[in-house]
C-alpha cells in the first residue's frame, strides 16, 4: 500500500498562512489541517484541489503517495 506524505506545512508557511487561516479559506477546521500536515488524514479530491489553489502549488507536490 502506498505511503501517504503531505508537504502542506512547507507550502502554507511559504504563503505566510496559519493553520486557522488556511482552514477558514478552504472550509475546514484547524484540527483537520493539523492532521493533514501530520499525514494522518487522507483528504477528499475537492479539499485537495482547494488547498492547492490557496497555496498555489501543484496538487501532486503537496500530497505525495510513495510507492513501497
Amino acid at each position: 500500500m502506498p505511503e501517504f506524505r503531505c508537504e502542506l506545512k512547507k507550502y502554507r508557511q511559504l504563503k505566510n498562512l496559519t493553520q486557522e487561516q488556511l482552514g477558514q479559506m478552504v472550509g475546514v477546521r484547524r484540527e483537520t489541517i493539523m492532521r493533514l500536515e501530520a499525514g494522518k488524514y487522507n483528504p477528499s479530491l475537492k479539499l485537495a484541489v482547494d488547498i492547492s489553489r490557496v497555496v498555489e502549488a501543484p496538487i501532486e507536490d503537496i500530497f505525495i503517495f510513495d510507492e513501497p
Binding site: G27, V28, R29, E31, T32, R35, A38, K40, Y41, P43, S44, K46, L47
Partner: protein, 190 residues
C-alpha cells in the same frame, strides 16, 4: 422528495395519535397507559434521529454542530428509573418500566457538549458516519446476543422483564456510543 413527504405525513399522524392517546388516557384512566409510555420513551430517546429521517432536505448538513450544554448529560441518571421495573414487575407483573434503562443514553450529551458548535467539515462528517455505523453494529450484536440468551431461559416468567431491560439497555447504549465514538474519532484518535 415524495418519500420524505410521506414520511413527514406519517410522522405527523403518529404525533397526533400520541397526543390523542394522552387526552383519551386522561379522560378514561382505564385505557392502557403502558403503550403510551413505551411509545413516548422511544420517541424521547430517538427524537433527533426521527427528525433527521423526516427532514425535507436530508442531504443538506448544517454548517455547525448544535450548541449543547454538556451538563445535560446528567439526564442519563434518569436511566436509574429502569430499576423501578423490579418492584413494578413483582407487584403488578408490568415489565414496561425496564425500558427506562434507555435513558442512560442521555449520558452521551457529555460528549455532544464537547463537540457543540464546531464546524462540520468533511473529516467530521466522515467520523460521524463511522461512529454511527460502529454504534449501530454493536447494538445489533448486543440485541442478537440478548435474543440468544433469552432463548436459553428456562422460566418463561423471566422472559418479558429480561427482553424489556435488554432492549432498554441496548437502545441506551447505542445512543451513548454515537457521540462517544464520534468524540473519540474526532478529538483523541491520531
Amino acid at each position: 422528495m415524495k418519500r420524505f413527504l410521506s414520511l413527514k405525513f406519517l410522522w405527523t399522524l403518529y404525533a397526533v395519535l400520541i397526543a390523542i392517546s394522552i387526552v383519551l388516557m386522561l379522560i378514561n384512566p382505564n385505557l392502557p397507559m403502558k403503550e403510551i409510555i413505551l411509545a413516548l420513551t422511544i420517541l424521547i430517546v430517538f427524537r433527533q434521529d426521527f427528525t433527521q429521517l423526516i427532514s425535507d432536505h436530508p442531504s443538506e448538513q448544517p454548517s455547525h454542530t448544535p450548541r449543547i450544554n454538556p451538563k445535560l448529560g446528567w439526564l442519563g441518571l434518569l436511566g436509574l428509573l429502569g430499576f423501578a421495573g423490579i418492584p413494578c414487575y413483582l407487584l403488578s407483573g408490568q415489565s414496561f418500566p425496564f425500558l427506562f434503562f434507555s435513558f442512560f443514553g442521555f449520558f452521551g450529551f457529555f460528549f455532544d457538549g464537547k463537540l457543540s458548535d464546531i464546524l462540520r467539515d468533511e473529516r467530521f462528517c466522515q467520523n460521524e458516519l463511522r461512529a454511527n455505523a460502529n454504534a449501530s453494529r454493536f447494538c445489533i450484536q448486543m440485541i442478537a446476543f440478548c435474543v440468544v440468551i433469552s432463548a436459553q431461559l428456562h422460566s418463561s416468567a423471566l422472559l418479558p422483564p429480561f427482553l424489556m431491560s435488554s432492549l432498554g439497555l441496548c437502545l441506551g447504549l447505542v445512543k451513548f456510543l454515537q457521540p462517544y465514538l464520534l468524540y473519540r474519532y474526532d478529538q483523541l484518535e491520531d
